[in-house]
């Protein structure tokens, strides 16, 4: 009981501490727009405080998970459906199509997509389902090939691995889309999984997959593309769910610890938003004060 109460109070205390530190920083700067002459950009102290707090939260929960604390993570329907979709592909004798987004590897969405690909490839290896991974950038090709090969190796199914499972298709956005759409209509994959950064081609891909009768699972952090995926796919992972997917599929406590740290920061942000809304509504200048605290210059 006491532990629960303490856990509820901790975020509020941490928020008060962060606001206090940021306020001291704001007062310390005589003029926020003054040019920084030292080695450290003092105008970004608030970003450093938030970064350290965020890192500390993730490290703290990861350590707790390592010690054996049980962490509750809510069910994500789209990820629960991955294994079912691969199983369906096996029964039907059709391939699984996985697209790790259409952006470069320096995008964090692409890295998240590749992490999920690793988990999906392990399932396809286990079920011995054909896997097809078209990519748009050669760097992603190299990384995705390694991820898929390693997954087959871990499952002891290297003999089922084929070097052409991961293919570089085209560098142009719509040439890539045309190739993948053609593949969908010819091969009719049982499951299409789209995880990563998608742009104008999202609906072209998802609608074609829908017409081909595939189970479709999508995940993206692009808010503009989410309505298209929601309209055309069976399951859609929204925003943070994409980044949580790898940890979720791994079932590893250490990975799940990072998610809990993320949740703590989210609680702090919600408190700051509510506080800011109240302050702006009641007194404009006080609202400006809180928005200045979080402004990255």
């Amino acid at each position: 009981m006491i532990r629960r109460a303490a856990a509820a109070v901790v975020p509020i205390l941490v928020l008060i501490l962060v606001v206090a530190v940021l306020s001291v920083d704001a007062f310390a700067q005589t003029s926020p727009d003054a040019a920084d002459t030292g080695w450290f950009l003092t105008k970004r102290t608030n970003a450093l405080v938030i970064l350290l707090l965020f890192s500390a939260a993730i490290v703290y929960y990861t350590r707790r998970a390592r010690k054996g604390d049980k962490l509750f993570v809510r069910k994500i329907a789209g990820l629960e459906a991955v294994e079912e979709a691969v199983g369906r592909a096996t029964e039907m004798g059709r391939p699984v199509l996985f697209i790790p987004g259409i952006d470069e590897i320096d995008r964090i969405d692409t890295l998240a997509g590749l992490s999920i690909l690793g988990r999906v490839a392990r399932i396809t290896a286990r079920y011995e389902s054909p896997l097809y991974v078209p990519v748009r950038y050669p760097m992603v090709l190299a990384a995705a090939s390694e991820v898929v090969q390693q997954s087959y190796s871990v499952e002891g199914k290297l003999e089922s691995h084929n070097q052409d499972m991961v293919r570089y298709v085209a560098g142009e956005q719509f040439a890539f889309t045309a190739t993948v759409n053609g593949y969908m209509m010819r091969e009719r994959p049982a499951a299409n999984i789209y995880m990563g950064a998608f742009f104008a081609e999202s609906l072209l891909l998802a609608e074609t997959g829908n017409a081909a009768g595939s189970i479709q699972i999508a995940g993206t952090a692009q808010p503009e593309q989410l309505p298209f995926f929601i309209a055309a796919c069976d399951y859609t992972l929204m925003g943070e769910e994409l980044f949580a997917a790898s940890a979720y599929l791994s079932h590893e406590p250490i990975m799940l610890g990072g998610l809990k740290g993320q949740d703590l920061i989210k609680v702090l942000i919600v408190i700051a938003i509510v506080l800011g809304a109240i302050l702006v509504t009641s007194n404009g200048s006080a609202g400006n004060w809180i928005s200045n605290l979080f402004e990255i210059r």
């Binding site: 964090i108 590749l114 988990r119 990384a143 390693q150 609906l203």
Partner: protein, 218 residues
């Protein structure tokens, strides 16, 4: 060792980018720009991997005369007819290189751009079919979505806006304030904040070496 080296490189690269954000570029130089240049150079080398992948997969189909081999042969022909003249020095002939009037320029401006535009234009039909499915009023939520979509779509066109203005001059502004700037923005910001936190947490897991699946390790 096979795992440790990539993790160390990821950690050092991530740390360098974080430091670049907080350190004064006048004192330390443009660390971020330097790192991005390295990334561009590495990406240039990997382009060859892409070409090898395309040629290997498609050439095999052409050689075995598999179904659709003719399309694959056309792809290989298009690949080489675009790439080879582009890498030959322009000093040999104005048709080479990538300047205006070169073969590459012609292929890019006429066939390529038109085909891309065609694909993009097809999006209108896909939007119509997806909207038909999404807006079917089967449940209360779907009916609310349909009504909101009809109001917003009418408001977005001049005729609809004039109809709304005839009902009440403030109505277009109210739709803008409460539907687009209120409900719509609130939901989008929720997703953006969640996404940004998720991205930051993933980046941190990658830098700290907790997340290694992206490099084929568990």
């Amino acid at each position: 060792m096979k795992t440790a080296v990539p993790v160390i490189i990821a950690f050092l690269s991530g740390l360098a980018m974080i430091l670049a954000f907080f350190l004064n570029p006048e004192k330390f130089g443009d660390i971020e720009g330097e790192m991005l240049q390295w990334a561009t150079i590495i990406a240039g080398f990997t382009l060859l991997l892409g070409v090898v992948s395309i040629v290997r997969v498609n050439w095999r189909s052409v050689k075995r005369l598999e179904s659709g081999w003719f399309n694959k042969a056309a792809l290989l022909f298009a690949l080489f007819i675009t790439a080879i003249p582009a890498v030959i020095p322009v000093s040999w002939s104005p048709l080479f290189g990538r300047d205006n009037g070169s073969i590459y320029d012609w292929l890019f401006t006429y066939p390529n751009a038109q085909m891309q535009s065609t694909m993009f234009a097809m999006l209108a039909f896909y939007i119509a079919s997806a909207a038909y499915r999404a807006f079917r009023a089967r449940t209360t939520e779907a009916t609310l979505l349909l009504l909101t979509a009809v109001i917003v779509m009418l408001w977005r066109i001049p005729m609809g806006e004039s109809v709304f203005a005839a009902i009440s001059p403030d109505l277009p502004d109210l739709i803008n304030t409460y539907v687009m700037g209120g409900v719509n923005v609130a939901v989008q910001r929720g997703i953006i904040i969640g996404g940004a936190l998720g991205a930051a947490a993933t980046a941190l897991r990658v830098i700290l070496g907790i997340e290694r699946t992206y490099m084929g390790r568990n």
